[in-house]
Structures are given as C-alpha cells and as structure tokens.
C-alpha cells in the first residue's frame, strides 16, 4: 500500500491524499494505513500522459535512442504509456519483434510500451503485413509512419483489414511526389534560403485523399502530426460529415515556424516541416474547438553530429518527449486551460487508440503523474534521459514539469531521484 500526500486534483485547491494498492488506485482520503508515503509537494495529480507517437529507434538505431533511454525519457516527461513507431531497422512487421519489444520494456520498469506495427511489409506500402498476428503479439496500432502510403488501394485494404480487427491505422499524410526533395516549408523563407521547399498542399492533398478512403471503408483512420491550416480544415469538415477520423498535432508545429530555419540550424528540420505562424495559430484553434484529438510528440531522437550537418543531409526530426507537457502548459495554459491540455495528453490520446479513458477513480490502473505547475525551470538538454541531448527549446524557461510518474503503482520517474 502506498499513499501520496499533499497533492491536488485538477480544478481544486484542496490538499488530498491518494491511496494506491498494488497496481490499482484504491481511493482518495481513506482512513487506512500505508507502507510507503510519498510527498506530492503540493503538485497537481493527473492520469499519466499517453504518447501516441514516439520514435524509440530500437531495434537497429540504438546510437540515437533505445527502449531504456526512450522510456525513461518518457517517464520523465510525465508519460505512463508510449506507442512506439515501427520504422526501425528491421521494421516492426514481424510478430516476434513486437513480443521482444514488449517483454524488454516490461522488464525496464519505466513507461509502458505499446508498440505500433507496420501496416505493410517492410513499410514498403505494397503488401499488407500480418496484421492479425501482429495484433495477437501485442501491436497497438498499424502505421507506415516514416514513410507515406503512396498506393491508395493498399491503404484501403489495410484500413478494411485493420477495421475487422478493431484496430486503428495511422498515416503520415504527405504526398511524397508533391513534397519531392523539400527540406522545409515552401514559401518566402525557403526561397530566401535557397532550400528546396515542401508545399503546404503536399499535406492537404494527401489528407483529402485519405479522408475519401476513410469515408469509403468506414474504418478508423488517424492522421499524424498535422502541420497546415488547410489539412486541419479538411479534417474538421470530414468530422462534421461523420467520417471516422482522428488527428494529432505536435508541440513543435504549435510553437515553432519556418522562420526559425533562417539560421540554417538543422535542429529545426522536421517532417512535415515547420510551417507559417498562420498555420500554427490554426492548429491551436483546432485544439480549442476539438478538431484535434490529441497532442503527440513525434519524438524523433538523432545524434548531435547528425543534426550538425547541413540542412540537405541532416535527418528530419525533433526530440521532445521530456519537454512536451511543460512547453504546451507554459505557452498555452491561458488559451486552453489546464483541464483541456491534460485531456489532449491523456483521454484524447486514449480515444484515438480506442482505449478506455484514463481516470484517477478507485479501481483504475495506478498510472499517474504529478505536475508542478509553479516552479520555473529552464530546458537543459544535457540532463535529458533521452540520448538526444539537444532541443530547439534549450534555455527556455518553462512551468508544469512532471515531478513524479507512477506506472502500475511503481515509481517510473521522480524528479531529483
């Protein structure tokens, strides 16, 4: 038995005590004895955050990240559950790999791992992977993220098959031919910098196609990391039409723009690219009005030397799993409110995945996070648990840092510990 004293619930100033029995929540303010007492320091207790889009790089690219560093980083970011992307080496298109990942992650004891598996063999977009066997092995969703689904018929078949298994398919929605060799948003800045551009329409054209395929199949389709006002508007209209579609946005698309690339720093190179301030503002409106279901980080760790290359050869991706919540809280708590923000990181993500909404009610899994909403602390990449020790927000002073993450009743992260 464990009790956590000196914590608050969202929307309340009252000091309360939460009791945890084993891996379940027992209840609040009970008159029972506990073996262990944790002091919540007056922080706000919320269900542990759910990350539905992280690149953990294992197997095959452990110099960038591995399960241990990635899941420890997730726990430090307040996450209790992480959906990992399958674009590893080899690709997660084999049930044995799903099992290995899940078993190894369970031994580590940081955040829970729910591996996503490839929709198609080798993520080649041509033949469906063994979706039923992958689900049996523990795959949480199907996606060819890292690649785009160029063949519309294959995506249709994948959606139909996944739907029969009651599984969601998520897509990296960019028309690869329209994107071409673009390394940043196509516009005034890309031309000023002389860099090949990726037009906003590469995303919206593909989202329009995928909406029609979701309409056709009536299968659950999740659109990852939306970056443009145009594509978001298409999703908004599709939802109004009753198409079974969900979408996520990433912290970097909300807080950074293509203007940040003017210094030629490849830390800002990401796919889809950082867009305009108008796009960022539209995405924020999408969070407010419910068009956006969840915040996913697209945590994409790389080595520092890879990101010190020029903008043509540096890899795409921004690591953010340790700063996502404080960043979003500091920038947008006034606009969105704490409750809405927490929902985007918890119940919204669960809804996308088709999972029960997490709660702090008796009987629920003891996956919880304590947030310190007051103490200001600067982003210090050298202290990241992630192997990616760089951040476009380095030095930025944020509030809302997680101080404790409990997963299945065990301490997965404790600040200062």
């Amino acid at each position: 038995m464990l009790k956590i004293v000196n914590v608050k619930r969202v929307g309340s100033d009252a000091e309360e005590v939460l009791f945890v029995d084993g891996d379940k929540i027992l209840g609040w303010n009970l008159a029972v004895d506990a073996d262990v007492t944790l002091d919540g320091g007056g922080g706000t207790i919320v269900p542990a955050l759910i990350e539905l889009h992280a690149h953990l790089r294992e197997p095959g690219q452990e110099e960038k990240e591995d399960l241990a560093s990635g899941l420890a980083a997730a726990a430090a970011g307040g996450y209790g559950t992480v959906v990992s992307m399958p674009n590893t080496s080899p690709v997660v298109d084999d049930p044995a790999i799903v099992r290995q990942l899940a078993e190894k992650a369970a031994r580590l004891g940081f955040a829970r791992l729910r591996p996503a598996a490839a929709l198609t063999k080798g993520q080649q977009g041509k033949e469906l992977a063994e979706l039923a066997l992958l689900k049996d092995a523990g795959a949480a969703m199907f996606t060819d993220d890292g690649r785009t689904n160029e063949d519309a018929r294959v995506l249709r078949l994948g959606l139909e098959y996944a739907s029969s298994l009651d599984m969601v398919v998520s897509v990296h929605a960019e028309d690869a031919t329209l994107r071409a060799d673009g390394v940043m948003h196509e516009g005034e800045v890309s031309e000023a910098l002389g860099l090949p551009g990726n037009p906003a329409e590469a995303e919206s054209a593909r989202v329009a196609r995928d909406i029609e395929i979701a309409r056709l199949t009536k299968a659950r389709l999740h659109v990852q990391h939306l970056s443009t006002a145009r594509a978001l508007d298409l999703v908004r209209r599709a939802k109004a039409d009753g198409v079974p579609i969900t979408c996520e946005v990433c912290p970097h698309h909300l807080t950074l723009t293509h203007e940040h690339l003017r210094g030629f720093d490849a830390q800002y190179k990401v796919a889809p690219p950082l867009r305009t301030s108008e796009d960022a503002a539209a995405l924020l409106r999408g969070l407010s009005d419910g068009t956006v279901d969840a915040v996913g980080t697209d945590h994409a760790p790389h080595t520092s030397s890879e990101k010190e290359r020029d903008l043509l050869t540096a890899p795409f991706g921004i690591p953010s799993i340790e700063v996502a919540f404080p960043l979003m809280y500091t920038r947008f708590a006034d606009t969105l409110g704490l409750q809405k923000l927490v929902d985007l990181f918890t119940s919204g993500a669960a809804r996308v995945m088709g999972w029960d909404a997490p709660t702090l009610e008796p009987g629920a899994p003891a996956d919880l996070t304590i947030l310190d909403l007051d103490t200001e602390r600067a982003v210090e990449p050298s202290t990241f648990r992630s192997k990616a020790k760089f951040s476009p927000w380095a030095g930025e002073v944020l509030r809302g840092w997680p101080t404790l993450t409990l997963v299945a009743g065990r301490v997965a992260f404790q600040r200062g510990a």
Partner: protein
C-alpha cells in the same frame, strides 16, 4: 567591415564600393611583372570545397597566393565526410590546424553559415547550394561598373534557371543595392515567384525581360532539369529563352552580355554572341581574380578601408 562574406544581408553599398576600389589596386598589382604582394604573408587560407568547382577554386587559390598566403585545400570527395563525419567535425579539425580563413563551396544552402559558426574565422562563401555566390555577384557588378561607370538606373536582365541559381540570387541582392534594377526571367517552373522584391521583377516573357536592358546575363542550364520535369526539352528551351543576337536586338544599343560560366554554347547562349565583342565573359574571369584578392584583403587585413 563585415568579417565574413556569406551573402549581402549585412553589407552596405559603401562597403561594396570599398571592395571595388581595392580591386582597382589589385588590377595594378596583376599588371606588374612580379604579380605578388605580401599582404597576407604568414596567413593560411583553406579552400574547403565540398562540391567540385575547379574554376572557382583556382581563382580563389590564385588570389590568395598573389597576396602571399599559404593555401590548403580540403576536397570533400576523398575525405572522411563521405564516411559520415559531420561538417562541424571537419571544420573544427581544420580550424585546429591553424587555418586563418575559410573559403567554402558546398551543395547545401547555408553550409557557409555553419562553417562560420563552427570556426568563428572569416569565411567567404564560394557558392552554397542555390542560395548565394557573393564573389561571383561582386565580379559581375565590378565588370558592369567598369563599362558603365555607375550601375545607378541600369536595367540588368538575368535569363535562365533562376530557381537553382545562386548567381541569380546573389546578383538580385547586390545589384539593387548599387542602384540597378534586376529582371529575372525564365520558364515558370524555374522562376520562384517568392524572389520578387524591391528592385527585382520577374517575368516569363523573355522579349519583355530584355527590352531596354543595359546588360543581359544568361545562366547555365543543366541537362538534368529536363529529366526532372522542369522543361520539355533543351531544344524547346533554346528556342524560347536562348540569349542570342536576335534577342539582343530588343536590348539597349550596345548592351553587354554576361555569363557566369561554364557555358553550354548554343543552349542558353548562342556561341556567336558569346564570342562577340559585347560579351564580357572573359573579362568576368579576369576581374574575378582582382575582386577575390580585394575581398580577402578586406576580410583579413583591412579595417573599414
């Protein structure tokens, strides 16, 4: 004076004028029997060419040697860069060997900025991606100024693959600073509309572009552009956009013709026009040496001269 020449973003017309004045002096040096001055004696200049360009590299190396600098050359082809060493590691290694300045050529836009950031040494951009090639623009402007006296009010037309041209971008930055107007012209697929700004107009109509021009510059057209879908064929391009005698009829009487080289004769420029007295192409190369000597002098020795 700016410590590096990456592009013209933080340069003024006065600073450019100072470069030109010193280039006049360098021309006198180059006319002497012993074409050498000790201005950069004891300094080591590294030409870091991550992308091949023998002509530009030779021009820079000769400019450095004429001023008694030691020159070391880094050529990426044979280097560890192909084995994945980062640009930063490469530059820090060269820096540790005591290099005093970097002259950088790279296929990626912005690479010269990164070199400057990692070395903190004076850096000259010798062409980065499609972004900038400032010494080429300086020698173009210097060559035109030699003919016109002043660029004030002159119309300079640049025809060709503007999209992929660092020469066009740098000229479109520099020439308006010196009082000229620039017209960029090419097929719509090779003419990004975002390049239009004060002093720079865009058109796909080559007859319109050349009308009344005081000078016309043809840009090199790469065969790959055809295969990449920017063009139907080189023949079509030549029929529509080639800078030739007939097109030059529309320009001012006695208008000059430039080309940054190397030329595809009878593609972007007619061979006969390139060989005609109005072509300044050879003079551009000669002036390139004096201008680069002047740039090196200003960045490494001169203090606001």
């Amino acid at each position: 004076m700016t410590r590096s020449l990456l592009d013209f973003a933080d340069w003024t017309a006065e600073q450019v004028q100072a470069i030109f004045d010193t280039a006049d002096v360098m021309h006198e040096v180059l006319a002497r029997p012993v074409k050498k001055v000790p201005a950069l004696q004891g300094m080591t200049i590294c030409t870091a060419f991550f992308e091949n360009s023998t002509r530009t590299r030779l021009s820079f190396e000769l400019a450095a040697r004429r001023m008694s600098a030691d020159v070391v050359t880094f050529a990426a082809g044979a280097s560890s860069l192909s084995k994945g060493e980062s640009l930063r590691d490469t530059i820090e290694t060269l820096n540790a060997l005591g290099v005093d300045a970097f002259i950088v050529r790279h296929e990626a836009s912005g690479a010269a900025h990164l070199v400057n950031k990692y070395s903190a040494k004076p850096t000259i951009n010798a062409g980065d991606g499609r972004r900038a090639h400032p010494t080429q623009a300086l020698l173009d402007a210097y060559t035109l100024r030699e003919k016109f006296g002043s660029l004030e009010g002159k119309k300079i037309t640049i025809v060709g693959d503007v999209r992929h041209s660092r020469v066009a971008r740098s000229n479109a930055e520099l020439l308006p600073m010196l009082g000229a107007s620039v017209t960029l012209c090419g097929p719509a697929t090779l003419l990004p509309k975002e390049l239009a700004r004060r002093g720079v107009t865009l058109t796909t109509d080559v007859n319109e572009a050349v009308k009344g021009a005081d000078a016309v510059m043809a840009l090199r057209l790469q065969r790959e552009r055809m295969n990449a879908g920017y063009l139907g064929s080189l023949e079509e391009y030549a029929a529509t956009y080639q800078v030739n005698e007939a097109l030059m009829e529309r320009a001012r009487d006695g208008a000059f013709v430039l080309h940054p080289g190397p030329m595809n004769r009878d593609v972007e420029i007619s061979g006969s026009l390139a060989d005609s007295p109005r072509a300044l192409i050879v003079r551009q190369v000669e002036n390139g040496l004096a201008v680069r000597m002047s740039v090196l002098y200003h960045l490494l020795v001169g203090r606001g001269a």
